[in-house]
Subunit: 274 residues, 2 copies
DNA sequence: GACCTAAAAG
DNA sequence: CTTTTAGGTC
């Protein structure tokens, strides 16, 4: 049994949009048994909290904190070590009139482990540029800035991860030439995310890897994965002290090769044990 | 490659309601490779003819004759040896005004192999006693009698098989005590089927096995298969010369034990090679 | 309980 | 393409 607060190996935090915990449970539990991950942040669980398979995670030595809804969205944090201060929704931090309707969809959960605050996000997809859902995405990102700014004031060590549904730079897309007005790459949403990062967050992946062609999501259609037509939209954004501390950030493409995979791959950031 | 008209082993004809050929294709092709079946009659294929996986059967040395529709019903005959005189629907034999609307649902296909005419049927379920669908089932069985009478005049060796959705006797049901007004066991549908058999057909299975508790269908619900709460509703009814010729008739329950099974098991009748 | 369709979401 | 829903069949 693993459960010590201090571990003989580096601490790992992972994010993975699993596109239905019901369908993907075997992949997720197998992956947790093959990798020494301390905290796994899941998006698109797609179940109400009562239907989340808590027991399957307890059986392999993990506890789960869930914040879900029927059919769509839903986030969860899976942890070997007990988590502190689990907070669900923007309204756990922000005033109700600031949040408005943005908590109707379950997309935000955060918790504290040791001296690190981990935020797990499922940013709205936005459908297409200029649509109502696009406006919702921009409003959501603006609210996220306020949310993270308050958290950062409380926790200098902030690890913000999840499915951001935004590829910040052209090198994060398989072919950016025709994507200027494409959802996940348009100027307004990139700017909205840059404003979020402006509070003092940096991309853990780009600390270690400058090359293009590194992706975390491939469309199910058109054999995109086989042809590596992907996007890097799943991220770990770190506050300065954590950015300095991070010793690796990698994308594990192996689960994307399995039968009936999620369309996303997990992204792992690693810290030394103090 | 097998393909000789004369075979060094007995000839086998099987019937199997596979409840979607799309979902069950792996079970069906595996079963054909594990069993020396000459003709396999399928019901509830649930695909239009253009979507039937012909190639998968050709790959294992079988040809398929299909008569399907979208979403519901649908029958097919799978054969190692080429089939002669394939006929689809009642209207291939009966006058259009006799058939009426009874060919709108694809439930009848027949073909000739050697000196035997094989008829493959998916009899309407009938929903509940007294319903509109029940009346349709009775009308359909009356039409079937005319259809088979004409075929029998042409082919003295008639093997009529399929999912009849009728358990003729109480020993064909796990507990008949409360089934007198149950669909598949009510007096009117049993009488309608008896009238069909009256043209000169006998139950191949009962030539060899008198015991109760022998079933071919178990409801997916209430763990019916595990508890053997089944019905014998899939049959081979044979004209006199074939009834004399038959050397076995068995139900293969093994496929019902697999993952994601059909709710029906195949039933096989065997004839000596002349 | 396991199939089917259809639409919505990604 | 894959997932979800709801309504229908058996």
């Amino acid at each position: 049994m693993l459960g010590d607060a201090t571990l003989p190996y580096p601490m790992q935090v992972a994010t993975w949009n699993i596109n239905s915990i019901r369908t993907r449970l075997p992949h997720v539990t197998q992956w947790l048994q093959d990798h020494v991950v301390d905290v796994l942040c899941l998006q698109e669980t797609k179940v109400i909290d009562g239907d989340f398979p808590l027991q399957a995670f307890e059986d392999i030595g993990y506890q789960a904190h869930v914040y879900g809804q029927k059919a769509y969205n839903g986030v969860a944090m899976i942890s070997r070590v007990p988590l502190q201060r689990v907070r669900k929704g923007f309204a756990a931090i922000l005033a109700a009139d600031r949040v408005g309707d943005l908590d109707a969809q379950k997309r935000v959960i955060s918790a504290v482990i040791g001296d690190i605050c981990i935020v797990n996000l499922y940013v709205p997809n936005g459908a297409s540029v200029g649509s109502q859902k696009y406006d919702y995405k921009l409003r959501w990102l603006h609210c996220l800035r306020d949310y993270l700014q308050q958290l950062l004031a409380e926790y200098p060590n902030l690890n913000v991860c999840g499915d951001f549904n935004v590829a910040l730079e052209d090198r994060d897309i398989y072919d950016a030439s025709d994507k200027a007005n494409h959802i996940m790459a348009s100027a307004a949403e990139r700017q909205a995310l840059q404003t979020v990062l402006g509070i003092g967050l940096q991309d853990a992946f780009r600390k270690f890897t400058a090359e293009p062609g590194q992706f975390s999501w491939w469309d199910y259609r058109a054999a995109s994965f086989r042809r590596n037509l992907g996007w890097r939209i799943d991220h770990h954004y770190l506050s300065d002290p954590l950015y300095e501390r991070a010793i690796s950030c990698t994308i594990d493409v192996e689960p994307r090769k399995l039968e009936k995979p999620s369309d996303h791959a997990p992204v792992i950031v690693e810290y030394p044990t103090p």
